[in-house]
Subunit: 273 residues, 2 copies
């Protein structure tokens, strides 16, 4: 298992998340957690209804204290974005603005590749009614989500999460926290053909290959099945053991009575043939 | 504003979301809402701790009743995935399985392009400790998220949301619920040059173009600025009005006293020159 570096490879500072007049501390906390999950940490609040700091926010952040501790509170949206160079405003409806409308994918790309050292930010509106037209007009572009229009209402923290995910996906080229175990090497042809031969030999006396003229086709189908399965060397050995045991049991009827508790069918020794 | 169709263009059925032994009704509801946002509606529960139906789940679903009403409850994970052809298991840590490890992007792509009419599903584990190794072993691949490893814990509903978003992003080619207002056409060269000439003429008597030998450079800089701004025809007319008013006010000192309430600076008529 190799862990990737936590810091994404980007020269642009991670975008700021600006919650405008958030009403519920829980949403602020969940937004902070969502940011922390995907490596954002600049959370700004404009006139939070219930003040700041907020115990509910801290609880809902589930330990994302580095985001909560860094929160800055502003009286106006203008003040909150004063140091930013490129600002997105999230809206769920068309508003008639002559502004580019971006999905999370394009929006994140824009915050990753601004001119020079530009700093970006994303405005999220109030739980009940979003951003005012004046607030949207402060932004350079509109961010909206590719939602199902039959159920388009995204919770603020969910909207923050999707943006943060998109940002990180692109910033880190989708770097995952762990990689697959290196695959066991596939079995050699000799192992695979050995298994095929063993299986055919075990089937020979059972009457499986009937009528005899069908034998070549049946053998070919079995060999294709086994080769295409892509078994590893270990799995081929496992299957040789299975065939050996089944072969050993040939002719022994499966008992009709319930086996005794300590008798495990299939693990019994060589059969009575 | 043109709304896109709600139904994504995909022939594969949308993947099922399987919550294994979810503990909190709220999380089931929030997961249902996240699914509805991005067009998923097949939610399956394996032995939910507090039973089903759940008032808390319904409340947290915020109206995603079409998902809640369709929920199916199973006693075992095996039963919940019996009809599926391709199953992903979400895990936050490497588990030493010889399974492909996919991010949301690849995982969603796999559920969109399975062989034939295959149906896919994604397993999400318990809030506290995820999926058992036996449950992960039921899956064809592991799904994990490109999280910041310093804060990797994703809430179940958040994990469902990110997967659902990725699925829809790819299923609909990022179709957004609304498009930008069609841009107003850019101003004609004649309009732009007319504005430049007007501005230069207005500046001429103010002493702006000094020293005189700098005039050509100063004119060029102004014209470049105006042309590069990409103004629309309407905006050029707006700026002509601005220049006309400033020009009219030339030489009239800005009053130092506070203007009377009904006197708006800048909207006064032609000046006293």
């Amino acid at each position: 298992m190799s862990e990737t570096d936590s810091a994404p490879e980007t020269t642009s500072p991670p975008p700021a998340i600006v919650l405008v007049e958030p009403q519920l501390g829980e949403n602020i906390g969940t937004a902070a957690r969502a940011m922390a999950n995907f490596g954002l940490d600049d959370l700004r609040l404009v006139a939070p209804r219930d003040g700041w700091p907020s115990e509910k926010a801290t609880a809902a952040a589930s330990g994302a204290t580095h985001v909560i501790d860094r929160v800055r509170v502003f009286e106006t949206t203008e003040a909150a974005i004063a140091d930013l160079n490129f600002v997105l405003a999230t809206t769920a409806r068309a508003r008639g603005f002559h502004r580019p409308v971006l999905g999370p994918e394009e929006a994140a790309a824009r915050t990753l590749a601004p001119a020079g050292n530009a700093v970006s930010g994303v405005l999220f509106g109030r739980e009940r009614w979003g951003l005012t037209n004046e607030e949207v007009a402060l932004a350079d572009a509109i961010l909206t989500y590719p939602v199902d229009t039959r159920f388009a209402s995204l919770n603020i923290a969910q909207a923050v999460l999707v943006f943060a995910y998109e940002w990180r996906r692109q910033a880190t080229a989708s770097a995952l926290p762990f990689a697959a175990q290196p695959s066991a090497p596939p079995a050699s042809k000799a192992d695979v053909l050995g298994l095929c031969a063993h299986l055919e030999q075990a089937l020979e006396p059972t009457g499986y290959f009937r009528p005899p003229e069908m034998r070549p086709v049946m053998v070919r189908n079995l060999r294709t099945l086994i080769q295409d399965a892509g078994f590893t060397e270990t799995q081929v050995h496992l299957l040789r053991g299975v065939v050996a045991h089944l072969e050993g049991r040939r002719g022994r009827p499966i008992p009709r009575e319930t086996p005794a508790p300590d008798e495990t069918v299939g693990e019994s020794g060589p059969s009575d043939t």
